[in-house]
Subunit: 210 residues, 2 copies
Amino acid sequence: MKPIIEALKNRYAVKLFDDSKKLTVEQIEDLKAVVNLTASSLGMQPYRVVIIENQKIKEALKPHAYDQAQITTASHLFLFCAHQQIDNAYVDDYMNLISEIRHQSRESLKGYESMVSSFVNSRTKEELEVWASKQAYIGIGNLLTSAAIAGIDACPMEGFDPQAFKEVLNLDKMNLQPLALVALGYKSPEDKYAKLAKVRRSNDTMFMQF
Amino acid sequence: MKPIIEALKNRYAVKLFDDSKKLTVEQIEDLKAVVNLTASSLGMQPYRVVIIENQKIKEALKPHAYDQAQITTASHLFLFCAHQQIDNAYVDDYMNLISEIRHQSRESLKGYESMVSSFVNSRTKEELEVWASKQAYIGIGNLLTSAAIAGIDACPMEGFDPQAFKEVLNLDKMNLQPLALVALGYKSPEDKYAKLAKVRRSNDTMFMQF
C-alpha cells in the first residue's frame, strides 16, 4: 500500500495546469472505466458524468466558476451530476440490465426488484438526490485516487454555479444536477500551490478505534 | 492504469468474509493514512471514522444491520460519520492547524478564513450535514479503490440503522452521524456473490462528452 500512500501524499488540488499538455484518448477511456467501475448503493449508479474537452465550452463555464484557472487550463473536466429521475422506470431499466448481463430471468430478480423499488418509493425526490449525490462522490474519490496513482494531476471543485453550468451544457432536459467537477491534466510548473504542505487532522482526531 | 482497472474489475461487495483472516496493524495504519489523505471541500475533512475490530461490538451492531454476515465476519469495519458541528469553532481550529503545519501566521490566513467562515455560516445545519456526508463519500471511494489495489476485500454498506449504531457506539455526545460503513477483510471461498458478473451501465449511458 506504500506506493498508493505516496501517490496520495503527492497529489494536491492543482490550481494551474499546463495547458499545452493533454490527456490522450486512451487515458480518458481508462478514467471512464475507473469511474464506471465504482461501487454504488444497490448498484444503481444514480449519477452521470459530463466530460468536457472543448476549449470554447470551458471558456463559457469559467465565469460561472469564479474565473478559476483550472477550468480552462485543465485538459479535461469530469463534471459529476446527480440523476434526478430515480423512479420505477429507472428501476425497471436497471433490472433489465442485470437480467441481460447475468443471464437471469426478470422473474428470478423479483425479490431484489421489490427491495430496490421500496427503497426508491419510500424516499422523497430531495432524499433521492442527496443519496445519488453521495454515490457520485464515491466516484470522485475513486477517480482522484486512480488519477494520482497514474500520475495524472487533478483538482476537485465544488465552487461553481450549478444552474449556470446546466444552462451552458443544456443539462436541464436530461434531469442532471451538477454536483462537483474534477479538472484533470498536468500541473503547471508555475502552480504555487504545489509546494504547500498538506494540512490534515491527526489520526487521533480523525479516527476512533474499538 | 490497467492494473487499477483490473483491481476494480475484480473487487465486489463481499457478503461473507473468512473470519479467520485478520488485517494486520500495519494494514490498518495504511488504510487510515489513505483515508486521512483524502481530498475534501476546503480541506475541512468534516467527517470522522470509527474503526471496529472488537468482535463483541460487531455482534452488537449486527442486528441493526439486517443481520448481514459482513458485519461479524469482516476483520474490521470502517464506519464513516458526518461531523455535525461544523461551526466557527471548527473553522478556528482548522485555521490553527493550517497555521501550525504551514508555519503561516493566523493573520496571513484572514482571507481564507473569511471565505471558509462565510461558506459555513451561509448554510443550515442540514445543508452542512449533506455537504459533510458527500466529503465522507470521497473517503469511501478512496478507501475502496486503495483496498482493491492492495488485495484487501471490502463491502460498502448503507443498510443499517444509524440511530442504533449511534447508541451502541456512544456517538451521540461526539456529534457524529453514521453514514455508511466499509467492512474490510478477506472474502470467504463460500461467498456465492464472488462469481456474479459485474453489472454496469454502458459508457454511452454513463458519460456525455463535449
